[in-house]
Amino acid sequence: MDIINNTNEILNPNELKLIIETIKNIEIKTTGKIRVYVGKKIRGEPMSFARNIFKQFGLNRLVDKNGVLFIITVKDKKLIVFGDDGINSKVDKTFWINVKNALITKFKNGQFFTGLMGGINLVGEKLMEFFMRDFEDLSGVNNDDKSIFFEE
């Protein structure tokens, strides 16, 4: 696989648009939020790094504690899937392992879009299972395209 130097090289504009649309669709149906952070390297202890990014996105402020964060770091080729306490109380550890494995299998072949879409859909299914939004309640749904962030 080619070496990726820039974070925005893993997705083309069409793929990016589709991922944003998918996340938005999940967020309209559920109270959960999904964010993707594409960086260069994980700095420090991975879970602490994930928690910091999680807080920077404001995912820790969700009422149901059901935010989910994907961290992809292109230089050290690492991936973190991280969920808040609310969703963790509904799923067990194997769920995150399955999501991670689903992504890694595709990432190894350079299929970032497919891998990421698969992971987002797996998380989306769980959010829809446990955190469905009340009918006509769209509070907290973002209309911006900030569900995915590329470190420069």
């Binding site: 994930a50 820790n60 690492k78 899937v81 991280f82 306490d85 963790n88 550890k93 990432f107």
Partner: protein
Amino acid sequence: MTSQFFLKNRIILFIFLYGIFIPINAFNSTDEISDYIYDHAEILTNADKNILNNKLRFLKTEKDIIFKLVIFDKIPDDYKNMDFEELSLKYFEELGLNKKDNNLMLIMSIKDRKIRVKLGSYYNIYYQMAVDRILKNKVIPDFRKNNFSKGIYIAINDIIKIIKEDMNFFKYYRIYIMGSILIIFFILFIIIFIFLKKSNKIKNIDNFGDGDIGSWK
């Protein structure tokens, strides 16, 4: 009419002068000082003696306790062969303080660098310990700096406070007891905190969430 006016004025003047001079005379009066203070070293001023005397006299009136202060420049030749403990006991008896069990005496010799508080038999060991603690921590440091009158003033003041209290084991050791209780509570708190932390009942605010990490190298 005129003589009446002068008579009135004289009376007013008399009352005025009486008002001024009587307190000054009272302040300088030394007639009762010898009842409580025996300053053979002459280190206290008349003003010091008056203040201390008033305190000791008030203690006698209020609590019927006689507290005497004896200050030597050096131990008199007659008592040279005695140790200071014996001397203080002898003086205690000579001053008639042993006639009542709640009397006491502060005795010191400046040049011999000795000081004792002799307590009557009414006072238990904790009074003696409390008094000795005052001498050691508050009075002797002033004496080392030759601040005798200040040291004596502190000694009299604090000793009076102590003998007015009902001193016992718990009162004497209250600082240590309270300190120990605080330390025990602190240790218990730490133990409970560690126990709860280990059993995951306390979750660190920055320890939320979970997930998994992997690599596609």
